[in-house]
Amino acid sequence: MKFSTRDLVYIAIFGALWGLLEITIGSYLHVLFPPLADTFLVGVIMGSLGILTSLVGRRFVPKAGAVLMMAVIAMLLKALSLGGVTLGPMLAILMEGLLMELGLLAWRGQSPWSFALAGALAVSWNFFHKFVMMRLLYGTAIVEVALKMAKDGAKMLGMDPSAVALILGVLFVVRFIVGALAGWAAWSIGLAVAGRRAQRFETGDMAQ
């Protein structure tokens, strides 16, 4: 896919905004809720914010690969931040970008539904991310991670901890819905931003 200079600058802007969110809010949240203790909250919040930002950007660069490029930029900015290189968030950002692209490709044309699907797929990665990272960094078995996730989920949802499959299913569906809502919100906000820009063009403010 060929990108014009305008496309590339917009990709840079939305990628940088996503990266800034990760560097500031993401770092704070990771300190407040350490990755080993938290299996839900930080990933869902940061995933939703990243999706919201990049999908608003996608409205202004409606080309395949744009969201993935934003994700790569956000990931690199996170890597170069003062907090240092953190593999977990970097992998999560990249996978979210990839899954958003997949969602947008699966649903032809830009619509609130395609954005919702892209968002839902991307936040769903958060569920599998814990398994991958625990295996990669700490060598923890999948069953152990699933049990820990179910234990935390049971506490949060007020469910019986023995219903592991049900708890994991609920946690996955919650992520899917939150992602879809973030995608839908991105469509709506993108529309409003485009409207505001069109207003500016009409009033001649852009020429200043």
Binding site: S4, V9, A16, L77, V85, G139, V193, R196
Partner: protein, 237 residues
Amino acid sequence: MIVAVERRRDPRPDTWGYLAFLIWTLVLVAVLPPARLGWLLGSVLVFAGIWRHQALLILLRRRTWFTLALLLLLSGLTLGPRDLGPTWFRLSREGLWAGLGMILRGLSILLAFSASIGALSVARLSAVFERLGLKGLGFAFGVAVNLSVSLQDIILVTYHTLRQRGAFRLNRRLFHNLRPFLLGIFANALRHGDEVVLAASARAFDPERPAGSPIPLTTGDIALIILLLAALVLLLT
């Protein structure tokens, strides 16, 4: 994929060597059995000590050691049966060993990233993308880095403007008020972007035109890649 490579006689590893080292570490972290992780960390420490000693500064940070100690303690408290220590503070032997493995993996990755990515400038990273055929990503990354400060200002100004109007009071309209906040940020950021586009056009920038000189493949890079391959075989057999 087009990779323009220019050979250069230099005994020190450069961009390609650092990237090869990073990939090597990540592969070994994923596949190496726990008993050999010490060797990996040792190799990473030697690499950083020889070619990028600034990366070792993270070992002087209190935060690094606090995190690692917390990791070890949490593993000792949560994994396996508690069979070690006095009755009032029992830890799990199995958990402590698992925690040690986590520390070795975590430290190896942390040091490898600091030693490799930390050694590359923004311009060099941009050039790597261009050379790997990812046209435009280098330019976009450069713009993103340079615009980061302006974007932070935009976010702050929008936040303070709306805060002074009472938009962030903790009430049931808080979420409703977040919308103008996001709208303000995105609209202003795009307006800033339009100025960058105008500036790039004025300088006749063309994303299709190759930019910069090729990244040299030094003799140090080649030697390091051979060494890494040999070490990979040794550690895996």
